[in-house]
């Protein structure tokens, strides 16, 4: 016959409060989470990490003696791809360990048979995602164990003595939480956290220990943090568990922060049942935090405590409950990877439009977008921006430094040096571009962000005659081969006549030669979407007006003849937009009558050396009828549009020099 009796003496109990002293001291505000510290209050705040965060904490329960400092645990967080962050927390110190003293009387002999009850939340893992500058989301899973070690049921006789044989029962549960963080302005953050939304259990305590099972109460907490003035953060939080908190953090100077928080609950007495004060100091890569948490009601926190089975119903949080004693927590967090202070912050990125591979070389000089940067330091900075698209750029392209005054903002134009790979893009696609901003000469960036980049296909054209120049490829071997072959084949006619007319004769031979090979020439109207490269036009033996103009410009340029596009966009009739070619006959204006007696057949304009020379208009869409017909048609068009119609003076006729 075995009789059981229970005593009410706490022998080893340290319900440790929340892990991070910063979090405890500021009221455990979900909206106040900015890095790995206290992330379980809202994992969405992890997105505020720089790169690597590593934290270690220890604590001492001041209300009890003899325990010394307890290793609370460590946290580790990593931000990656700018929009993602993960963290893991190992906290062996977050536990409630209770010995319930008892004796068992066997055959009139009292045998000690203390029951050990332990609750712990040793592991939490979290993931955060930044959807935009304002919104981020986080999820986390917390492991909870409930263990009872009971020696009161089995006994064995050892050396003629009866000794109890402990038997251990463990129930393990995983709880899933989900959080949202919303920052409508840079001074206000709102967060929401759903705790215990899902639970998965493995094992369960025997029926006779059901009184020791902790309750599972899903809850929702809302939190807001604001900075009404610089260097001050205040916030409050409320939960559906009828509890809440208030907290603040003030950083007056020297990276020193002073913190304070109050905790309130309808289930506690008094209503405001706990307060915390703390301080933090940042030095280099380290954050040193300390806080002291103390409670108004000490009845269950020191000395004898009521039976644990009578308290477990009120334990909503293993870290913060009726058994948690007053205690001091000290923690150190180190920022790894990025060890310097952030000086510049990206406020936004604006892309001016898509990237046209044909003009990729010009993008090294012409901005493709801009990044809006803010100097968040108290000293002037020289900010540089870099832009990078994987695969199509060999390395990030950096801009010139831009001066930004303290607290000031500036737009930095983005340029990009693409590689040849961009000219292989068959059709339009979207890629991620990485924009970084750095305010020092260090390689690491102060801030990074991703932006969508629209990459057009290699033949896409934006309809601007200036962009059409980039399709002209006089150095293409196929272009050179064609023009040289033709000049060689017709060398007799090329070499006959005055030397001053050699460019004119070369042009006539090349144009006539290609005209004789053409299979088709499409609608002369301009198509503002697709342009063939000269090698493609030579291969296909045809194209539309833009294709032909580009091809002839390339052929003529390949033998040293300057060319220009005549871009005609009649006012009110954009559908009649058209483009044709001018080439420099290389004949001085005073000899113009050697080319044509009718001055309407040519245009006098300065060449690159400033010499006024004769330029011949060529309408490439009638090229199949030969050089002279194309010249006549081009001259007539030019005279009608540019001279009679005053198109050149009024801007609807443009001459775009090619070479």
């Amino acid at each position: 016959m075995i009789g059981i009796g229970l005593g009410f003496l706490s022998t080893s109990m340290h319900g440790q409060a929340i892990f991070s002293p910063r979090s405890v001291a500021t009221g455990s505000l979900g909206a106040g989470v900015i890095d790995v510290r206290g992330f379980t209050a809202n994992p969405a705040g992890l997105i505020g990490m720089r790169e690597w965060d590593l934290g270690v904490a220890t604590s001492i329960a001041t209300a009890r003696s003899g325990q010394g400092f307890v290793f609370e645990g460590f946290q580790f967080g990593r931000k990656f791809l700018e929009q993602h962050a993960i963290a893991v927390q190992y906290t062996p110190g977050t536990s409630i360990d209770v010995d319930e003293p008892a004796t068992v009387t066997v055959a009139g002999v009292n045998i000690p048979a203390d029951r050990k009850i332990s609750y712990a939340e040793p592991v939490a893992v979290a993931y955060a995602f930044r959807a935009s500058d304002q919104w981020s989301f986080g999820v986390q899973a917390r492991m909870r164990t409930e263990t009872i070690n009971d020696p009161q049921y089995k006994f064995q006789i050892k050396d003629t003595a009866i000794v109890p044989v402990p038997e251990e029962f463990t129930a393990t549960s995983w709880y899933a939480d989900a959080g949202i963080r919303f920052a409508p302005t840079e001074n206000v953050t709102v967060s929401a956290l759903g705790r215990g939304l899902f639970r998965a259990t493995h094992g369960a305590l025997p029926q006779e220990f059901s009184a020791y099972t902790l309750p599972h109460d899903p809850s929702l907490s809302l939190s807001i943090a604001a900075s009404p003035v610089r260097r001050l953060m205040v916030g409050m939080e409320a939960s559906t568990l009828k509890s809440g908190s208030y907290g603040m953090e003030w950083t007056p100077a020297w990276e020193l922060s002073i913190r304070g928080g109050l905790y309130a609950s309808k289930g506690e007495s008094p209503f405001v049942y706990a307060a915390a004060v703390g301080a933090g100091w940042r030095y280099s890569i380290f954050d040193l935090d300390a806080c002291y948490l103390f409670f108004g009601d000490q009845s269950s926190r020191r000395g004898l405590i009521p039976p644990i089975s009578s308290l477990v119903g009120g334990v909503k949080d293993i870290g913060m409950n009726a058994l948690t004693p007053d205690h001091l927590t000290i923690a150190v967090k180190a920022v790894l990877g990025r060890v310097r202070e952030t000086l510049a912050k990206i406020e936004g990125v604006e892309m001016y439009g898509g990237i046209y591979p044909s003009a990729y070389e010009s993008l090294a000089f012409h901005p493709i977008g801009k990044v809006h940067v803010r100097n968040i330091s108290e000293t002037p900075i020289q900010a540089r921006a870099t832009f990078f698209v994987d695969r199509y750029m060999d390395q990030p392209t950096e801009t010139q430094p831009v001066y930004i005054a303290p607290e000031g903002q500036a737009d930095i134009p983005l340029v990009a040096v693409f590689n040849e790979q961009v000219r292989t893009i068959p059709k339009m696609m979207i890629r991620d571009g990485t924009v970084s901003v750095s305010a020092t000469v260090a390689e690491e960036a102060d801030d990074k962000t991703q932006t969508r980049v629209l990459l057009h296909g290699k033949n896409d054209w934006d309809g601007d005659a200036r962009s059409l120049r980039y399709f002209v490829t006089p150095n293409d071997p196929e272009v050179i081969r064609f023009s040289r072959d033709m000049l060689l084949r017709y060398r007799d006619s090329v070499s006959a006549g005055p030397k001053e007319l050699s460019s004119f004769r070369n042009a006539r031979v090349i144009v006539n030669a290609f005209a004789g090979k053409l299979a088709y020439v499409a609608d002369p109207k301009q198509t503002a979407d697709y342009v063939q490269y000269p090698s493609e036009t030579l291969k296909l033996r045809g194209g539309d007006c833009a294709d032909m103009t580009v091809c002839f410009a390339s052929l003529l340029s390949s033998v040293g003849i300057s060319t220009a596009f005549v871009d005609v966009v009649p006012p009110g009739r954009p559908d009649d937009a058209h483009i044709f070619l001018l080439f420099d006959a290389g004949v001085e204006a005073k000899f113009a009558t050697s080319v044509a007696s009718n001055p309407k057949r040519y245009v006098l304009r300065a060449n690159k050396e400033g010499l006024s020379t004769v330029w011949i208009p060529i309408e490439t869409t009638v090229i199949t009828r030969g050089f002279d017909e194309a010249w006549t048609a081009g001259a007539q068009e030019y005279f009608d549009d540019a001279e009679v119609g005053l198109g050149l003076a009024k801007g609807w006729v443009r001459i775009v020099d090619v070479y």
Partner: protein, 230 residues
């Protein structure tokens, strides 16, 4: 007889459409060149000319044209030895003239090449210089003179804007005519009449550097500049 001709001319002009130019009467050697064609062809009274046509009168030729302008019908007499582009028989606003002049300056300057930061290089680069003597001849000044006579016609009939533009173009094409004081004075005067006082003053100003000016000519230029300063 003259009155009858005027009445007939007026009646014919009444039936011309706006912008059209009708050959009212011709005498002697008168021909026309259509558009950008190279050759000249005969013209007859009553022919309607297009804006891209050019008319030429011979040594003993003459013609009377009736042009429809926004201000109404205008009769233009072409004396012997002139070449006139029909596109020049029109009024341009000072703004249009200013734009044209600016564009002409751009076209005549290598500045236009400096606008783009990316130039497509030539595949063929010529090194050295061809030392062979020039084998072309400058345009026949006689043709230039005929065209400049046409510029006088434009001035006489009040088409000052096109007169100035055409005069500058011809001087550029026939540099030998540029040394003629009267030619340049006519261009400057046309600019003045077209209400481009600044441009006219500049033109008069550049004339002061001409070689061989007589004191009378110098005084004439100075007087115009002074008048334009007021």
């Amino acid at each position: 007889m003259k009155s009858l001709m005027l009445v007939l001319a007026a009646g014919l002009a009444f039936h011309t459409a706006a912008g059209e130019i009708i050959v009212q009467r011709i005498h002697g050697d008168v021909s026309v060149r259509h558009g950008v064609a190279e050759g000249w062809s005969k013209v007859a009274s009553g022919d309607v000319l297009r804006p891209d046509d050019t008319m030429k009168t011979g040594e003993k030729g003459a013609a009377v044209l009736v042009a429809s302008t926004p201000a109404g019908k205008k009769t233009i007499a072409l004396p012997p030895d002139v070449i006139v582009d029909m596109s020049d028989i029109r009024d341009l606003s000072p703004e249009d003239l200013m734009l044209k002049l600016t564009m002409e300056k751009v076209r005549a300057s290598s500045y236009q090449w400096k606008n783009e930061d990316l130039q497509i290089p030539h595949a063929a680069v010529m090194h050295g210089a061809d030392q062979a003597p020039a084998s072309l001849h400058e345009g026949d000044p006689a043709v230039g003179i005929l065209q400049f006579n046409g510029v006088h016609v434009l001035f006489t009939n009040g088409f000052y804007a096109t007169c100035a533009l055409k005069g500058m173009e011809i001087l550029r094409r026939y540099p030998s005519l540029e040394s003629g004081f009267d030619n340049r004075f006519l261009v400057a005067e046309a600019l003045e009449k077209a209400d481009l006082r600044g441009e006219a003053r500049n033109e008069y100003g550049t004339m002061t550097a001409m070689a061989g000016l007589t004191p009378a000519q110098q005084e004439q230029i100075r007087a115009r500049i002074e008048a334009l300063r007021k």
